[in-house]
Amino acid sequence: MSACLGIDIGSRAVKVVVLDGEGHILARRLAPAGYDGPAVAARLVEEACAQAGVVRSEILFSMATGYGRGRCSVADAESSEITCHARGARFLVPDARTVIDVGGQDSKVIRIDDAGRVLDFVMNDRCAAGTGRFLEVMAEALGLAVDELATLHAQAQSPAPVSSTCTVFAESEVISHLAQGVPRADIVAGLHAAIAGRVLALAERVGLEPVLTCTGGVALSGGFVAALSAAARMPVVVSADAQFAGALGAALLALTRLTERR
């Protein structure tokens, strides 16, 4: 059996996807990136191959993406996250024309054509505001696990405004809300609204065309997606594999390279 590998070494998590020669997903693995993403990637590749039932010699092309893409020894080539997320999102949500990816340390908005090619894109500026890391810091300040944010969001009565999207300043706002006895659910809803507003302002730079899909780890947070959908006034389609979009896109590019080579 021939197979392709996509490896996404992100700032917070490493994702690996194995595709067969027809582009079917055989395996997917994910783990925190820690301090040595490439080492985590190497381990995940072994695990994913075992899960897929392929041996390394059957992997005919491997493509890396994400922050650690340049240091991935198991990859044959590397591609940017933008190109990979576009491809992966198109695969997961075939009608998608706008992709909002909110990852660990950056957020990006990509407009794509029907083949998943990048038409235009924009990324957040230098700071980590409105990213996965932002939510992690806020969850910590609230004494919550990241998974709990969605549940609390659903219980919000009146979202507490969080005006600053600077991670450090927003954390002080959260602490001051807590000091004033604001329910945590309302703070969570306020935080999600703040991120959604910021990402949407970014999206408007490239134009928000339906169907809108969301990828990256933060896409799995139901509260954020609800806030985004409300702010954008359109449905947001999210695949259960949203966090794998980058790795999946890399694997699809690997498959294309392989086909071209033949």
Partner: protein, 402 residues
């Protein structure tokens, strides 16, 4: 890092000229030294035998060698980190010349600031005036919302140019010599015409020069405009570029994509930054910055012609005008896309870029990338996010290519 750029033979002559220029600026006085802004009417000063020196050019020279300590020196005095890095470097170098290249820029005898490029220069030069205790002339050029230059704006600026002449005469005791002004104007125009010719040679495919080459060689059109030396240098450069065209020598190896650059250079990373593009066959063939000195002073009454020239520069124009100009450059130079430097320092250049980007992309059908950095302050340059954006942009160009 591999340098994909063949070296310019004429570069050595430019280095010699600039060393000579700064030596004169720092030498014991044989004539008054005026520190002026890049959009100031230098021809009048030259015609009165005043030596013009550009703190902006000096700041770029400092930045190429690493100017964060000079920025920090200004910040230690209380200047905001959000202030233009040229201003911070200039103020920092004036306050702590011992850590500045050339041991500082010396001292001016007079200052001339023209706000056609930005509002910051007014306050920056006021700070210098206070620091050195020297007189300052502020030339106020109203912003042009439409393409045409209204007569009242022209009359207003022409009146101030007359005032400037009287002010310099009073301050320095030198008279404006009309014959010398005519000669300076024709030297200025000759350099401008050559500069235009050089830039237009980049329409050839493959382009003989690239934007980083122009960024380096523009020093003379800024600092030496109106002198015979500038004309001689640009003849040399023009001949070299024309020879490259004849011999089919290109600015980068294997030109595949042609791009337009918007905004000031990232001086401390100039070749490093552009190499990311050159390595994948993308050559910058046009830009909106070096063309700011492609301004001819029309024949006729010199004061009015100068007023027209210095009022009408790119940065003193509306976003619509700028978008139209960029779209025309993209067409004329057959560009496949454009890159906008959102320059933390330069507010007039950078504010409104998202709107210009949309308009230019819609008008030309070419994609535009925006990257965030600073012309001098490397603390505002985030290596990995920039590399990611550049790579993604080039990948999207490759996907578009037939």
């Amino acid at each position: 890092m591999a340098r994909n750029y063949p070296r310019l033979e004429s570069g050595a002559e430019l280095t010699r000229l600039m060393i000579d220029h700064y030596t004169q600026a720092l030498a014991p006085r044989t004539r008054p030294v005026a520190w002026i802004t890049s959009g100031a009417p230098v021809e009048l000063l030259r015609a009165m035998d005043v030596l013009p020196v550009y703190p902006e050019n000096y700041a770029a020279v400092c930045a190429a060698q690493g100017a964060v300590p000079l920025c920090e020196a200004a910040e230690a005095l209380g200047y905001s980190r959000d202030l233009c890095s040229y201003a911070r470097i200039s103020i920092g170098a004036s306050a702590t010349p011992q850590i500045a290249p050339l041991a500082g820029l010396g001292r001016p005898d007079l200052l001339v600031a023209c706000n056609n490029i930005c509002g910051t220069v007014v306050k920056w030069f006021q700070a210098l005036a206070q620091q050195f205790g020297v007189p300052l002339f502020v030339l106020d050029t109203p912003f042009l919302p439409d393409d045409a230059i209204p007569p009242h704006a022209l009359a207003y600026v022409a009146g101030q140019l007359e005032d400037l002449v009287r002010w310099v005469e009073r301050t320095t005791g030198r008279r404006l010599d009309r014959a010398r002004l005519d000669e300076t104007l024709s030297l200025s125009n000759a350099a401008v015409a050559l500069w235009r010719e050089i830039r237009h040679l980049c329409r050839v495919r493959p382009s003989p020069l690239s934007t980083p080459d122009l960024f380096v060689t523009m020093a003379a059109i800024v600092s030496l405009r109106g002198t015979p030396e500038a004309v001689a240098f640009y003849r040399l450069l023009r001949d070299e570029a024309a020879q490259r065209v004849r011999q089919g020598v290109s600015a980068i190896d294997g030109e595949r994509f042609r791009l337009l650059w918007d905004n000031i250079a990232i001086w401390p990373r100039i070749y490093h930054f552009f190499s990311q593009f050159a390595r994948r066959g993308a050559c910058f063939v046009a830009d909106t910055y070096t063309g700011a000195w492609d301004v001819e002073i029309e024949p006729g009454e010199p004061i009015e012609s100068l007023a027209r020239a210095y009022l009408g520069i790119f940065l003193n124009r509306s976003l619509a005008y700028r978008a139209t100009r960029m779209a025309r450059l993209i067409r004329d130079f057959a560009c496949d896309g454009f890159v906008m430097h959102s320059n933390r320092s330069c507010k007039p250049f950078s504010l409104g870029q998202p709107a210009v980007r949309r308009r230019v992309a819609a008008a030309t059908g070419t994609p535009g990338l925006m990257i965030e950095a600073d012309m001098c302050d490397t603390r505002a340059y985030a290596e990995e996010p920039i590399a990611s954006r550049v790579q993604a942009f080039l990948e999207s160009l490759e996907e578009r290519a037939p």
